[in-house]
């Protein structure tokens, strides 16, 4: 049963046909609220930090170094990291480098479908400032304009070793309760949407796909 909200809280979902409008929620995302008791929240963060499930979406060249990371040599499983096939089960989204506009659309859909609390790691130089393809007509340069990124790992490509280090860093951040990218997304939702719609010309999806 889809809850209907007051108009001030609803999304337009203007990209959808009238028929499809019925199929998607028009509710805005809600910010994550920590548990009122700090010890409980700390425990939850500890648990989250030690079971990072990665969305296996080979968005760019970065995918090439995720395979060594997940296999025997670097064996990320021992850090509680596992690859998951679907966004619904994942808590960490790894953006593997550049994103073409067409991929950006899928990235946004996948990211929004992830269950909170969720985190984003951006690999390589391209998400930071455009990298190799800074002057390409088909890629986006600064990723933080479209998706809140919790951690950047520079390199082209970043080695699996530094991915391990990055994951450890992310764990520390989560344990310290400083990974608030998803909340940032909620708080600045309109800004992010406006940026996304600026580059994605054929916006034929709901404004928020949760």
């Amino acid at each position: 049963m889809i809850k209907t909200l007051g108009t001030e809280d609803t999304l337009e979902n203007a990209g959808l046909t009238d028929e499809e409008q019925q199929l998607f929620s028009n509710a805005r995302p809600r910010a994550y609220e920590p548990y009122p008791i700090k010890a409980v929240e700390d425990f939850a963060n500890w648990a989250r930090a030690n079971s990072l499930w990665i969305l296996a979406f080979g968005t760019g060249c970065g995918a090439i170094e995720l395979r060594p990371l997940m296999t025997a040599r670097f064996d990320a499983n021992r850090f509680g990291v596992a690859g998951r096939p679907t966004p619904r089960q994942s808590s960490v989204f790894i953006i593997g480098g550049y994103a073409s506009v067409k991929t950006l659309k899928r990235i946004i859909r996948s990211y929004e479908q992830m269950q909170g609390p969720k985190f984003v790691i951006a690999l390589g130089i391209c998400p930071i400032n455009g990298g190799m393809y800074f002057d390409s007509y088909n890629t986006v340069n600064r990723f933080d304009q479209y998706i809140p990124v919790d951690l950047y790992i520079t390199g082209c490509m970043p080695r699996p070793e530094v991915l391990v280090a990055g994951i450890m860093e992310l764990q520390n951040k989560i344990k310290a309760g400083r990974c608030d990218g998803a909340n940032r997304y909620v708080e600045n939702f309109d800004w992010y949407k406006a940026n996304q719609k600026k580059v994605i010309k054929n916006w034929d999806m709901p404004d928020y796909n949760w």
Binding site: N129, G130, F134, G155, E161, V162
Partner: protein
């Protein structure tokens, strides 16, 4: 399906007894390989800020930013590369092209941050943990992205050159010039170093394009003596050329000469297209040397009526009298001067200020006066017996030869001094058939003469005796001869600072006899034409003017320049003084229309 197929997967158990692949602590145990291309290291002291790394970076990941501690160093742009690790792809081309080999890479690869704006740093300036890493990518020996060796200029062999006054350097062919022009990395450090700030990279570019007319136009913007400077410039540009740090500097001077040699003098008016709109002001210039004529050219372009007063019979000053024709043929000097004169510059020869016309008179008659009389009085050694008839002055010998007179040097000559005049006097003497010994009080490396002049004079058979201090000139037995007593010197470090100084060793004295001794230990100015009052008014220090802004002296209408007003005493500085003074005079005469970045008649920056 057979049984073997069914069982074979269980073979994996065998691997349980093998060493696992897993790296236990990957972040600690696995540094990058010794030649890994990791984060950048820049040895800032070696870096000259040429910006080649910036030019070659296809991702615009390198910006050249000012680094305060390196500003103002000679041959250093004061800029240092700033890296953006949101762009860098670690290709290492910047390391490969680095002219000073100061840019390297460490084998460090980990940089994680929450903030995308954080991935910037100025290598070698910002403190980073990897900047002393011993490992990392370095350019391999024998790997170049530009040719390190210069294209050799064809030269007359010493045997041939010593026979005649023909020009020694034969000039580049078009193919040679293009290859040499190709070596330029277009950093512009030469522009900053050149006293005249000639636009070197651009005219070298015009050689690559084969557009010599454009090259000529570019050169005339800052230097109306390109044919001359293309031959005898002291080329401070080449001494700072970053290509020369690991290889040989770009032959900027020869390339300049090449452009001029490609253009016929009769095409100059069409190419340079100097349109003159008369301004009605009259300006006097004292001395028709490079400084005076340079000022004349730029003043004439501004439309001022220019009169040049020259004490000698011809124009060119030291370029004509002081530089022998095997270095600068008269035809090439005349090419430059003829174009300046063709713009309507009035030169009054054989007119000495103070004798033929009074300085005060000039001040009254002209709106401004540019004074560049040069250094024309040879210095004395002030040693016993110096006034002997067989002691000649180097300048006099050169002037005699330039005017076709016989200096009467005989067949065994000693030249005293280590400057360009000494070298020229020695080489001229060789051409006149004499056997030449050069006595110099310091080491050969300390000689103020151009390196190539020293080298060529040695090749032509001049015997250089370094660390030889003359102490006395003695009359010889024959009246046509003269003896010199000189002592060997040891170089001693001066505890009060400065370069090592020669100290005479009194126990090692020698006396040699020559047909003549040519003294070429320097020249001084002759400012006697100025009245006592004027002398007191114009700031003069050690016989030289100390001009203010735009070469203006303490007297508002008087501008000074050339050897008599600068420390370097070379042609290119004199040319810039003239150009600069022309700007100053323009400011004086036309204060309303003057801006610092004013354009001249051709619509280009003056």
């Amino acid at each position: 399906m057979n049984l073997r197929d069914l069982l074979s997967p269980f073979f994996v158990w065998q691997r349980a007894f093998e060493k696992p692949y897993t790296s236990i602590r990957p972040t600690i145990d696995r540094p990058g390989a010794p030649a890994y291309r990791g984060f950048h290291i820049n040895v800032s002291e070696e870096c000259v800020g040429c910006g080649s790394c910036h030019s070659i970076c296809q991702n615009h990941a390198i910006d050249m930013v000012p680094a305060a501690e390196f500003e103002g160093r000679t041959g250093d742009s004061g800029l240092r590369p700033r890296f953006d690790y949101g762009r860098c792809c670690w290709c290492g081309l910047c390391v490969d092209i680095c002219t000073a080999a100061s840019l390297r890479m460490s084998n460090e690869y980990a940089w994680i941050s929450e903030d995308p704006d954080e991935f910037h740093f100025t290598a070698g300036v910002d403190d980073k943990p990897w900047q002393n890493n011993e490992h990392g990518y370095r350019r391999a020996e024998g790997y170049h992205l530009y040719p390190p060796k210069r294209i050799e200029m064809d030269m007359l062999s010493p045997d041939e050159s010593v026979q005649s006054f023909e020009e020694v350097a034969r000039g580049y062919s078009e193919a040679q010039a293009k290859l040499e022009a190709d070596r330029c990395v277009e950093c512009g450090i030469c522009v900053a170093t050149c006293p005249a700030h000639m636009d070197v990279p651009d005219y070298i570019h015009s050689i690559r394009d084969g557009d010599y007319e454009k090259g000529l136009q570019l050169m005339y913007r800052t230097n109306p003596f390109p044919a001359t400077c293309g031959r005898i410039c002291t080329r401070r540009c080449e001494s700072v050329c970053p290509v020369g740090i690991l290889g040989e500097p770009v032959a900027i001077r020869w390339l300049k000469r090449f452009i001029v040699d490609q253009v016929d003098a009769k095409d100059y008016p069409r190419i340079l297209n100097d349109q003159i709109i008369e301004s009605g002001h009259r300006v006097a210039i004292i001395g028709a040397g490079p400084g005076g004529l340079s000022a004349a050219y730029y003043l004439r372009k501004k439309g001022h009526a220019v009169t040049v007063f020259e004490a000698g019979e011809t124009a060119g000053g030291m370029l004509r009298y002081g530089v022998p024709s095997y270095r600068l043929p008269d035809a090439d000097l005349d090419k430059d001067i003829a174009y300046i004169v063709s713009l309507g510059v009035d030169i009054r020869y054989n007119t000495r200020i103070g004798k033929d016309i009074d300085f005060e008179q000039l001040l009254q008659d002209y709106a401004a006066v540019f004074l560049s009389t040069g250094l024309s009085v040879p210095s004395n050694m002030r040693i016993q017996g110096e006034d002997h008839a067989r002691v000649l002055s180097g300048l006099q010998v050169l002037a005699d030869v330039a005017s076709g007179r016989d200096p009467g040097i005989g067949s065994r000559v000693a030249v005293i001094g280590g400057g360009n005049v000494a070298m020229d006097a020695a080489r001229v003497s060789r051409r006149l058939g004499a056997e030449v010994t050069i006595l110099y009080r310091r080491r050969i490396a300390d000689m103020p003469a151009d390196e190539e002049e020293i080298h060529e004079s040695q090749e032509e058979g001049c015997n250089i005796v370094p660390q030889a201090i003359p102490v006395e000139i003695i009359a010889a037995d024959k009246p046509q001869q003269v003896s010199i007593k000189w002592g060997e010197a040891e170089m001693v470090q001066d505890p009060t600072g400065g370069r090592p100084r020669p100290v005479l060793q009194e126990d090692r004295m020698h006396t040699d006899t020559y047909d003549c001794i040519i003294s070429a230990i320097g020249q001084g100015s002759d400012l006697d034409f100025l009245s006592k009052e004027n002398q007191q008014q114009l700031a003069i220090e050690w016989g030289k003017f100390t001009p203010g802004e735009y070469q203006q002296s303490a007297l508002q209408k008087v501008f000074v320049g050339g050897d008599v007003a600068n420390r370097t005493a070379d042609a290119i500085s004199a040319i810039e003084d003239g150009h600069h003074a022309a700007r100053g005079i323009e400011r004086l005469l036309n204060p309303d229309g003057f801006t610092a970045t004013q354009t001249d008649n051709t619509g280009e920056p003056a």
